[in-house]
Symmetry: C2
Subunit: 262 residues, 2 copies
């Protein structure tokens, strides 16, 4: 998640999940964004998935079975789709009981059917993202190594801190995934150095990001990553040896190693 | 404006305004985004501008003089700054009279002091953007020539159509500014061809985009454009002969030619 738009949330959620699946781990993507880009990316048409319900129902229908709202889209790869109704969900949930914990409740009913559950959040700090933050254990922050991108991260971390204090004591920040990365430029290198220094200084601080880091490798800019959503494919289906695929595969290996160890 | 995030709205608003200013036209940037990136980009610190008020006051204080909420930041270049309070504005305006027309009223009081007024909108279709759409005459849509970016444009055009029917009959779509453009890739060329075909088919349709086009030139990806906000400078102050400056200068010349002719 990242409340800033266009930073690589969907591209990372989908391709990291696909890389985990390729590595033999069961991965479920939940598309919390009314834009439904993760849904499109995984080859589904929002509103036409062959499931009893979607993420919208998981949030708004306490009786729906969440297992009937997800479907398999690849080997070890599952999707809880979004649809246009999800845009109304924030308004409809606004005055309901437990409006922040609906998603957590739904995921609990999925009872560990998947090793990894990845939530693709919209670019805002509204109720959909809040449901994501309350349901999640770890936050992964995709971002571009640009000055204006740094500006938004502070606010995001404040929000995570508040959610941890008031709604989800287990919430931690896993770290940052650098997207659309141009490692050649001094600008990018300076921004990365800033981020790494910030995390180093936070070690042992008890903050939700005290064990956070900048993940390796950064994901390089690669047009294939922008093309494959138009075919409803992950990078591993579309161009399995493109730089984008190589980077997400290595990233997944590092994630598996770190999260297996926990 | 574009409800999708990170597409180049701020970079385009600021550098197009600066190019218009360089060409001798008086340009005012109004920063409608609580993120205040345009404010930072133009060298101001949100919350510390030496003005009586900010865009927040223009929206919420019917008695404030809008001319006291803008300040000159360069030759021919003016800024109405954003500040953190603007995040609360959407909630505070939600139940007020004329909540959609506050900005229009404020701009009218500026009584043509500036030849161009450019509004930098946040990545959402909330009240701040709606105030922008109701106040504006033309909508410029920055976007990247990517498949997932195309997905959002349809929804944006629907919204513009609704605003035109219900709140602002003069509203038209000027066109699309291609940002972070990689003209070499087939993918970008296909997306641009799609957009141009769509606009060609809309000629004479009476839709708000019936005279819209894809502006020339596209703005190429150029790291200088990502660096200069960190110094509070426009591209013309930071690197006046970089590709990013050349592209925005040509874009401004085309805009001037087209809007002078109207
Ligand atoms: N490494 C990359 N190389 C090239 N293009 C990329 C890369 N990562 C993402 N993109 C493209 O950049 C655009 C933005 O990425 P994406 O949609 O994943 O961001 P997002 O944060 O999910 O956006 P939103 O805030 O709208 O949900 C998309 O068109 C995507 O295809
Ligand atoms: N042509 C370009 N070349 C390189 N970097 C660019 C270019 N245009 C924009 N950027 C960078 O890309 C990022 C996103 O651009 P920008 O902030 O202008 O988008 P935005 O649509 O205003 O985002 P938001 O939705 O958050 O308001 C910024 O870090 C900006 O500096
Ligand atoms: Mg997304
Ligand atoms: Mg912006």
């Amino acid at each position: 998640m990242n409340q800033k738009g266009g930073v690589g949330k969907t591209t990372t959620t989908v391709n990291l999940a696909a890389a985990l699946a390729e590595a033999g781990r069961s991965a479920l993507v939940l598309d919390l964004d009314p834009q439904a880009h993760a849904t499109l990316h995984l080859g589904e048409t929002p509103g036409q998935t062959e499931t009893t319900g979607t993420v919208y129902d998981m949030l708004l229908d306490p009786d729906v079975d969440p297992r009937a709202c997800v479907r398999q889209v690849g080997e070890n790869l599952w999707l809880g789709a979004s649809e246009t109704d999800l845009a109304a969900a924030e308004g409809e949930l606004a005055d309901k009981d437990g409006r922040h914990t609906r998603l957590r409740g739904a995921i609990e009913k999925l009872a560990g059917a998947h090793e990894y559950v990845l939530l693709d959040c919209p670019p805002s700090l509204g109720l959909l993202t809040m449901n994501g933050l309350v349901a999640a254990r770890e936050v992964v922050i995709p971002m571009q190594a640009h000055f204006l991108a740094l500006q938004g991260v502070g606010k995001l971390l404040e929000t995570i801190q508040l959610v941890r204090e008031q709604l989800n004591p287990e919430l931690t920040v896993a770290g940052i995934v650098l997207c659309m990365h141009d490692g050649q430029t001094t600008h990018a290198q300076e921004v990365v150095a800033d981020l790494e220094a910030f995390f180093d200084e936070s070690r042992g601080s008890g903050k939700p990001w005290s064990n956070a880091k900048v993940y390796s490798p950064p994901v390089r800019r690669n047009i294939k990553l922008a093309e494959c959503p138009s075919f409803g494919q992950t990078i591993f289906q579309y161009a399995p040896w493109a730089p984008g695929a190589i980077d997400y595969r290595k990233l997944a290996a590092n994630v598996i190693q770190e999260w297996d160890a926990q």
